[in-house]
């Protein structure tokens, strides 16, 4: 008799353009490819990212980090600055915003300061959605990681890396290894890889870290590393947090490394041309051997570089959508 309201697509505007970037889930192949192509346009021939582009001049981007992060925050900051935006870095002690109301108050304040975009990282799954649902229509929200839910820019840079180094997605087999349960990167990658039509996605780890429900999301699950690695083209290692031992998900780092650590010996099971990726920061000797992390199959440092280009792409696309919305409303206003 009674139906409750369905969730709406928060990320897209009426014309299907990227308004917020919260998750890779639900975005179509065209849009994901557009992000990758835009990122490509920010890459120079020497493999570096363009140093300056005036695309976001006059735009204020607030980096709201409710959870500590160096790498993601820095690359977002670099990306914003290279697009000529002004950047506010705000690190927020989560304990002071444990109540929802405080979080909303903070958003209102930042809006009042004239922020045009929020780059948000938060320990709660769904936090970016929560914020995107409540900001004024002029503000775009970019998810820089929410709980275990999504880390879409990391996934996009991983997809960019795969496309750059391995070509089209269709024939590829991609393995994601380690702590899938807690990984927002794995979730965002899974959706992105599926949409882009990758041949096969494998998740590898012990049952405590790889929930069987991931099968329903279109992945094949392997509990034995050697079997899962067989003939894969891309190996994505995830960072193992020390807390996993305390919460009885694993017996020890040593045992994890023995079973799921990527050593040269293990890598031999993969396709001879397989590349090795890691979202960083890496734990040498815990999930990956130094020789592999630094070896010629590793593209881990390339990922960092691409991360800047991908974030520039996402920021400029969301800004563009926003600008179109603003000019549609106020024809006289062409600047931020």
């Amino acid at each position: 008799m009674m139906s409750s309201r369905p969730p709406q697509s928060l990320q897209l505007d009426a014309n299907g353009r990227l308004k917020h970037f919260l998750t890779t889930e639900g975005l179509d192949k065209t849009l994901l490819t557009e992000i990758l192509d835009t990122a490509e346009s920010f890459m120079e021939e020497d493999g570096q990212v363009v140093k300056k582009a005036p695309l976001l001049q006059g735009c204020t981007i607030a980096n709201l980090f409710f959870e500590a992060s160096t790498r993601t925050r820095t690359t977002f900051e670099l990306a914003a600055k290279r697009l000529s935006a002004d950047v506010l870095n705000i690190n927020i002690n989560t304990s002071s915003t444990s109540k929802g109301e405080t979080l909303l108050d903070m958003l209102r304040n930042l809006e009042a300061m004239g922020s045009d975009m929020f780059v948000v990282r938060h320990a709660d799954s769904g936090a970016a959605n929560f914020i995107a649902e409540r900001v004024t229509p002029q503000v775009a929200v970019i998810n820089a990681g929410d709980g275990r839910h999504a880390h879409p820019t990391q996934a996009m840079l991983d997809l960019y890396t795969i496309r750059k180094h391995k070509g089209p997605f269709e024939p590829l087999t991609v393995a994601i290894v380690g702590d899938i349960l807690h990984s927002r990167v794995a979730r965002s990658l899974l959706h992105g890889l599926k949409t882009l039509g990758v041949g096969e996605i494998r998740l590898i780890g012990p049952r405590t870290l790889v929930p069987a429900h991931f099968q329903e999301l279109g992945a094949k699950i392997y509990y034995r590393f050697e079997n899962g690695l067989k003939d894969v083209d891309v190996v994505i290692m995830l960072r193992l947090q020390k807390e996993r031992m305390d919460s009885a998900l694993l017996p020890s780092e040593d045992e994890f490394y023995r079973l799921y650590g990527l050593t040269r010996e293990k890598l031999a099971f993969a396709h001879p041309n397989a590349i090795v990726m890691h979202p960083g920061p890496i734990n040498r000797g815990v999930e990956i051997e130094s020789e592999v992390a630094d070896g010629n199959r590793s593209v881990i440092l390339n990922q960092v570089t691409y991360g800047i280009a991908v974030r520039m792409a996402v920021l400029s696309m969301a800004a563009h959508t926003r600008l179109n919305t603003l000019t549609a409303r106020q024809p006289s206003r062409l600047e931020f």
Partner: protein, 431 residues
Amino acid sequence: MAVSSTKKRIVIRGGRLVDPAQKLDLVTDIYIADGIVLSIGQRPVGFSDDEIIHAEGALVIPGAVDLCAHLREPGSETRGTIYSETRAAAAAGITHIVCTPDTTPVVDSAAIANLIQERAWQTGYCHVYPIGALTRGLEGQQLSEMYALRESGCIGFSQMRMPVRNHRVLLRCLEYAATFDLTVFFQSVDTGLAGNGCAHAGPTATRLGLTGIPSAAETIALSRDLLLVEHTGVRAHFGQLSCARSVELIADAQARGLRVTADVAAHQLFLTDTMMDGFNSVYHVNPPLRTEADRLGLIEGVRSGIITAICSDHQPHEAAAKAAPFAASAPGISAFSTYLPLSYDLVRNGTLSVADWVRRISLHPAQIIGLEAGSVRIGDEANLTVFAPDERWILTDETLFSLGANSPWFGTEIEGRVRATLHDGRISFRL
């Protein structure tokens, strides 16, 4: 503010009285004077009414007896007060409420039990029966003064979802309750397995990255509790089941002859975990919304009678409590308003007869707490509800009397409306 204390002479005209306790199902008039049902059908000689309640086209049923509601007072009056929530209950067709002991302070002393009942009596919208805490402060370590609490009106005892870590303590609690034939209300959960989860451990939670609560958190604790109930012979009621497997465990216990009853919250019969998609915190409830298979299993349990009662599990919250990312929001639904309309859907879809529906929301819950209620008998005080199953309305601030607007159906059209409620012969709600 309170219900007028004057007991008028009331006639309820032309409604379909469905009273399974008396095997009544007929369109009739009901005459009430001095709070007492004087006559059903025949106008008493010399009866002149002060008030006519038109029940044409509606059902007249014994007032609903809700086995689980959080009234929030004392301690959390920003979320609800006895006044606001009993008034909301009356507007929802409820005449008897069983309220939970997890207030601040906890209902572990006669003083708190008395306070709640006095407040309820002063406001006069509903009969309110507190459940006492099974252990002092709900801390799971010492027995509460169950006998004194029983004398002060507590109709049963519960640990809610707080752990009793030492099973010896739990065993002693049940033995002590059994000594005085007290009913223990279980909300079975293994707090270790539930952990800091906020959603059913299924595909949706996995995809959204929400920490899961496995079904085993309920079924393992339920199995343990049933074994202890069997061991002690205590009378037990299992509230707010969420898993299909739990229904089988209860059926098994009943088949073994245990004195065990169970209820389910109305919303568990309609919502599943897939509705969390989009992170709408209004679907954050505890126990969590589970799978379609669980939902169907619970409905079958209600149909077959293994689940004897449907409750509201009313949990009002202030807006700020839900204005947070899913896991950080407070669990619970403000559920009085939709209690009858939702549960009546089981009649609409042919799962229950009207009489069986009345049994699940009124007669059986009354029997579970040992009340002579759940029937509209001549000579008894009139506790009844006029419910129009086909009438549509919208749940808005104007139609919501609870302080909590945390309902998935807030702002939507609802089918089935309470036209009037009589509490001990006084009109506690009228459209």
